[in-house]
Subunit: 309 residues, 2 copies
């Protein structure tokens, strides 16, 4: 089983309206809402490919209820820690010209006993999981070291741990040596303490990160694919060329593919292939964190994984 | 007891943020959310003055749960018809310069059996009520005649009926001859079939509406107070001068005051006084549909009700 952890779960809500008129009253034509947050997107892409997955994290208030009911409706098994606060809404206001304005609510503040409930739930879930994937930002109230703590709990239970977050949460979480991380180029540069001039410098950087004890690292290069390092070996992954509909959620779909491959014990080249096919398939749909399984299967054969030493 | 009916209940939500930047991602600093919709505002202002009130209407989905839990927390008795659809959010985006951008969700579509449940619930509640106040717009799916139907049900149970809505819903609802309505000047003009030149023409108009079988009519003149007609007698109500903080919800507070006075069997002058003091007190607070009871008491003595024939 794959477990995904979303500490800052959300309702992803889209308003469609003719125009966003500041200072005025507008009626929204159409509302679309579904469970969101990066870990939930990962869980959805895993579930869509028919692989057992469970989504956990913090959920609270009526928005938390919406998230849980939505997951149930989408056929995604879930087991969240119920919190006092109200889960957040991430609102995307889309006008008729396709201009998107996003408003992100701050989200709830997590209490001490809620963190403790998370530690306990995670220990139980990780004992049954092949892969535990932590995704997204840390909610208010939790210490910056919270990912490191949870990663250690999951690792003690024998799970392989993924961490897909950014900034301080990534730097501190990486201290617990997760199996897989997905930093961006800026984060790698910050780690190394110097800027990255070209693909070769990035490759050398990833290999140095391997040496710190993180065995699998991937840096996305958008539509061009990714650069990955695995136990001191580098791979240039070339993504199939597609007409992208919506690139939001491609990173989460990539993580989903990596998690499926890793849970199934596939060689790293096959994991990278599955990750890239899933990420690319996500770009073919308007929804974030969503793939058509047929797209993934078709694209699998078009991904080129090149060993670059 | 006073019963308020909100067929299109909402969560009134306010986002505070530095600036609304179209086409960009913004983090919301602060979120404020409470049960809203005009009838719920009326219920809150009645409850704040210590008078027994019950709020009903349609509520559904996780937003409906939020509305019901919020009412409970605010000490307002409620008994809503649970619907399949999701109750709407009325979002007010407030930037640091005080510019307010409102986005109104379309709200749920009411099914046939949900309307039938409302008719039955209303019959039971109206039998225990002195005043039943219907407020706000009609949700999707209900016929334009729905207010008229519900008004007749409430009247058959012996309740005095208020209707505070606008446009077609008001015109059609008024056919059931509610006891009290609160049209605006344009709606009176539309009714009469000619424009209204001055206060005297408005007065003549209200008297004609009295003759059609609606005994009590009030037209707001904003901070200047209101003009009212009651069984063929007109009143000019002068509101106390105050430094308004937020005028939103003043009309609902006015209805609340009228409902309290009417339920207590006070003479119409006293009802108008209580309505105006409640409406004015609402303007003194930042919240819509909210009064400090001490403000209402103090302002009561400052309202001047002048009989103008």
């Amino acid at each position: 089983m794959i477990v995904t952890v979303t500490l800052n779960a959300a309702i992803d809500k889209t308003y469609h309206l003719p125009a966003l008129a500041a200072g005025q009253v507008s009626r929204v034509d159409r509302v679309y809402a579904e469970p969101g947050g990066k870990g939930i997107n990962v869980a959805r892409v895993v579930a869509l490919q028919g692989v057992p997955v469970l989504a956990t994290g913090f959920a609270g208030g009526s928005n938390g209820d919406f998230i849980e009911r939505g997951l149930t409706r989408q056929g995604i098994v879930h087991d969240f820690v119920k919190i006092e606060g109200e889960s957040r809404i991430c609102l995307n206001i889309m006008d008729q010209d396709g201009v998107s304005t996003e408003l992100l609510e701050p989200g709830p503040t997590i209490a001490g006993q809620e963190m403790e409930a998370m530690r306990q739930k995670l220990a139980l879930l990780a004992a049954r999981a092949k892969v535990v994937a932590f995704s997204g930002s840390l909610p208010a109230g939790v210490p910056k070291s919270f990912y490191a703590e949870l990663i250690e709990i999951a690792q003690r239970q024998g799970a392989v741990v993924f961490l897909d977050t950014s900034g301080e949460a990534l730097l501190r979480g990486a201290e617990a040596k997760p199996y897989f991380i997905k930093p961006n180029e800026d984060e790698v540069a910050q780690w190394l303490g110097h800027s990255i001039e070209d693909e070769n410098a990035l490759k050398q950087g990833l290999l140095r990160l391997n040496e710190t004890g993180i065995p699998c690292i991937s840096v996305s290069m958008g539509a061009q694919g990714s650069l990955a390092a695995f136990h001191g070996v580098c791979y240039r992954v070339h993504a199939p060329k597609v007409e992208a509909v919506n690139a939001v959620g491609c990173g989460d779909a990539y993580v989903a593919g990596m998690a499926i491959g890793t849970a199934q014990g596939l060689p790293v080249e096959e994991c990278l292939r599955l990750a890239t096919a899933s990420g690319t398939a996500n770009a073919l749909t308007a929804r974030a964190g969503y793939v058509e399984p047929e797209d993934v299967k078709r694209l699998l054969g078009e991904v080129v994984v090149e060993r670059i030493g």
